[in-house]
């Protein structure tokens, strides 16, 4: 079932709002009857990523917004477009079972803040990069991975892949994979090690204090 939709060329993304429509048009490559469902999923997920990228870039490039405004808006986008319930669950993996419902809820809340703050921090990291959409792939379990390339000062572009999962009517991001490094896997490793060293409470406390420090200094 794993299929790759290859577009002839990467789609240059600017500020123009026509880009979303173009992305939808390009992604709807015809295929066999079996592939039609996949194609629809890929197109929907791709459109979601295209739209998110466009919105984030528009915020980052808006000269009328202050740094704090930008941060708040991007954090807002993160809240809307990441599937924090699934992410928390996958990050905790087996440890989920060993935690009380209160601990799970507390972890999810702090982790959500942590990720949103990190996403909002792109305000400080942004150096006029361009983001282009690349290939889209339907995974075996029905998730869709959308590849983007970030072109900035560095000699090579940075590949950032978004893995999305369908939740009711929306496609939500469950992993960000930067140059083959899955953040989900990365957080899982950190979480496992912290839980085995300081326990679930220690982990939650550590997240909480980091979040508070970052909120205090504005991201």
């Amino acid at each position: 079932m794993t299929r790759t939709l290859r577009e002839g060329s990467a789609l240059r993304r600017g500020l123009g709002c026509a880009a979303l429509g173009v992305a939808l048009g390009l992604a709807g490559a015809p295929a066999s009857a079996e592939g039609a469902v996949d194609d629809a999923a890929a197109a929907a997920a791709r459109a979601r990523v295209a739209d998110t990228v466009e919105r984030v870039l528009a915020v980052l490039r808006d000269p009328a917004l202050s740094g704090d405004d930008k941060r708040a808006r991007i954090e807002g986008l993160a809240y809307e477009r990441f599937d924090f319930a699934t992410i928390s669950r996958l990050v905790l993996a087996r440890n989920w079972r060993r935690m009380t419902p209160e601990q799970r809820a507390a972890f999810q809340e702090e982790f959500k803040r942590h990720l949103s703050l990190t996403y909002g921090g792109s305000v400080d990291r942004y150096r006029d990069e361009e983001v282009l959409l690349g290939a889209t792939r339907v995974e075996r379990n029905g998730d869709v991975t959308v590849r983007t390339r970030v072109e900035g000062d560095a000699v090579e572009p940075v590949f950032v892949d978004y893995r999305l999962r369908r939740r009711e009517d929306a496609w939500l991001v469950i992993d960000v994979i930067i140059e083959n490094v899955s953040l989900l896997q990365n957080f899982r490793t950190q979480t496992q090690e912290l839980i085995s060293n300081v326990g679930p409470e220690g982990l939650i406390e550590k997240l909480r204090s980091k979040n508070e420090a970052r909120t205090a200094k504005g991201g």
Binding site: W96, T145, S182
Partner: protein
């Protein structure tokens, strides 16, 4: 610190018996990070060195040097690394990639004015960042334990050997020997300035920075060894599928 200096450092560490295989743990499995204690100490040192020396230096460099020049300089040094990429592609029987690299080098060295520009990419000549660590991995050598090397950063015995060979094939090494010691240093600082957003992201996103760096390093190196064609614009090689599965024997509490 130049590549040459790094190579020397790694060499002395390897020679003084740092090449070991850890004893299996009580459950019979090799512990994932047997050197964690000393690794963390070295990591703290490297991190401070970066924060107090390399990062300010890179920021200063970025301040006085136009972006275009820094990018071009990065391309120049990258182009210069061709011998190592040629050899490591050949050693993995990647002949098409070796050919592409050769045409790239010829194009960028001439039309691209000594490599400061990259017209080859526009002609569809891809770049294939192979190195000796990947060669050894492809040949089936185990990585050995994760090993944080002073100044050089995350590594393992396999990658450290790789770095030695990379250094031997790096023209900058010989520029150093013929008394142009500043070149490798400039290359390093320039690279650090171009990588600034990623370093910031790593520091921002980590709950435990050491573990995060270790995991990211291992994930990335393993992916490069599994499939060196990371530069191509296709969907990525995925980590193990179970990363994305919620175990079925549990009730979903959401």
């Amino acid at each position: 610190m130049t590549r040459f200096g790094l190579g020397f450092l790694v060499a002395s560490a390897l020679v003084t018996g740092a090449c070991f295989s850890p004893p299996p743990g009580p459950d019979g499995r090799v512990p994932p990070d047997p050197l964690e204690g000393s690794n963390r100490a070295v990591f703290a040192f490297n991190d401070s060195l970066d924060r107090w020396f390399f990062e300010p230096l890179a920021d200063g460099w970025a301040f006085v040097t136009p972006k275009v020049l820094r990018t071009s300089l990065g391309k120049f040094f990258k182009n210069l690394g061709y011998p190592g990429r040629l050899v490591t592609n050949l050693l993995q029987a990647e002949f098409r990639q070796a050919g592409s690299e050769t045409l790239r080098f010829a194009t960028n060295t001439t039309v691209g004015v000594a490599g400061f520009f990259d017209p080859a990419s526009r002609f569809g000549l891809g770049q294939y960042d192979e190195d000796f660590g990947q060669v050894f991995g492809r040949w089936g050598f185990g990585s050995g334990p994760f090993w944080m090397i002073p100044v050089a950063g995350p590594s393992n015995p396999r990658e450290a050997w790789g770095l030695l060979f990379d250094t031997a094939f790096d023209p900058l090494t010989y520029l150093f020997l013929v008394d142009v010691p500043g070149v490798g240093f400039v290359s390093g600082v320039n690279e650090r300035s171009l990588a600034d957003p990623q370093v910031e992201l790593a520091r921002d996103a980590a709950v435990d920075l050491y573990v995060s760096v270790r995991d990211a390093y291992i994930q990335r190196r393993e992916a490069l060894i599994r499939d060196g064609r990371v530069m191509e614009d296709t969907a990525p090689d995925q980590p193990a599928d179970d990363l994305y599965e919620i175990p079925e024997d549990e009730d979903g509490i959401e």
